[in-house]
Symmetry: C2
Subunit: 259 residues, 2 copies
């Protein structure tokens, strides 16, 4: 399995238009520190699946035949915007697995064009070729699904957007111990007010419970990036363009790659 992060932020990721915080200033100086909408390309068993679709330029990034489907966590703008143009493709239909959310995004479900939306329910696993995909419930301001993807002996879990996890989701993941978890972590500790994303302590506690072999935090906002510039975390943070190869640990060496 190869996971390439196309974006690791959200609408409040550095640089925010007009913001002069240290993270936003750094992201303007160094594009490698800028974050696009949280999204990744998963390549496994010869298939290419896009996880979330917030990049507006999907039609140029992915010529016909280069994508086998889209796993859509939810219908917020920064996760779905790119489908507004992709739907008018003249290429063969593209499956989009998504949660049950009749509101969708603007007129996307009313005019799906070449997109074939397929509603998924938490716990109802399905197959795409040799891959098994299990939707899991998350906790967000809209109906939102995480995706657990199994192939051969490898298991990846994409858990974003969410604040905390439903106990059942956390219990399943703790029992399964995925090889890799990509986890929502938008805020620094101490962020008050209504939140629909994890802060650093919440993300840390979830990872301690699930105990994946490897992980990345994503959907960081500029305040968290600024906080991490002052006080780094021991947890691995994803960056745009980062490429993670997920391989089985060897029997002897724990996390060391088998290939």
């Amino acid at each position: 399995m190869r996971l390439t992060f196309l974006g690791t932020g959200g609408v409040w990721a550095a640089p925010v238009h007009g913001c002069t915080c240290p993270a936003c200033m750094a992201a303007r100086r160094d594009p490698a520190r800028a974050r696009g909408p949280a999204s990744a390309l998963l390549e496994v068993a010869g298939l290419r699946l896009l996880i979330d679709a917030g990049h507006a330029d999907l039609t140029t990034r992915f010529p016909p035949g280069t994508l086998d489907g889209v796993l859509l966590t939810h219908f917020h703008a920064d996760h779905v915007l790119g489908l507004m143009l992709m739907r008018w493709s003249m290429a063969p239909k593209l499956p989009v697995w998504c949660p049950q959310d009749p509101k969708g995004f603007d007129d996307l479900l009313k005019h799906p064009g070449r997109l074939r939306f397929q509603t998924c329910a938490a716990g109802a696993a399905f197959s795409v070729g040799p891959i098994t995909i299990t939707p899991v419930a998350l906790i967000h301001s809209r109906p939102t699904l995480g995706w657990v993807i199994d192939h051969a002996d490898l298991r990846l879990a994409w858990l974003c957007d969410t604040r905390g996890l439903p106990d059942q989701t956390a219990a399943i993941l703790a029992a399964q111990r995925p090889d890799f978890v990509a986890l929502d972590c938008a805020y620094p500790n101490g962020t008050t007010g209504a939140r629909n994303h994890n802060d650093l302590d919440e993300a840390s506690a979830l990872l301690a419970r699930i105990e994946p072999q490897d992980s990345r935090l994503l959907h960081l906002n500029h305040e968290l990036d600024a906080a991490l510039m002052a006080t780094p975390t021991h947890l691995p943070v994803a960056w745009d363009g980062e490429d993670v190869v997920i391989a089985a640990p060897s029997a002897e060496n724990g996390r060391e790659s088998a290939s």
Copy 2:
């Protein structure tokens, strides 16, 4: 007045994902033949106004202080998409003049962030600094306004998206004889079925009635571009990135620029 076309197409503009028509093939070979969403930057009297906002990268194109407002014709995705991120700016509020359309675009009117939407009515002129802006009614599948912009002795009319014009709009424009008209023309002649955009004959007839000093067709779809590759038109067609300086005709030389 300087008008820079940021985009001259719509969602069906060349290249369409997966299309192999001559226009789409040409646009892939030569990016100068590709068309982004119909939009322009108008610079006049020291002000910079964006006409429509379908480009997703507005926050990078327009750093704080480089835009004085947005003239939004209507709330279709290819005209409004860029505001979904721009709303979360931390720069001073940005005025967005728009038609009365409570549905808006997804949750944009519910969560306008830093955008200050100001509903306009056809015929109700308003001032932005020394400029006078008069909204005019168009004919489209959503409430849609054209914009007539006056400064000193210069007059520009932006008439997109529309199929035909309400008789009152056409009569006003024919009486006013704008120096420049940017006009919707999406389809080749003979395009049947329900349409919300002009074909070439319809656009030609409107220009013959209004008799502007100069004009450009825009919002061309790939079928029209393909038709024009076979049979060119005498009407000027806009291209992305094109820069038009609108100046008063000299008394003696008709359309010749005064400066």
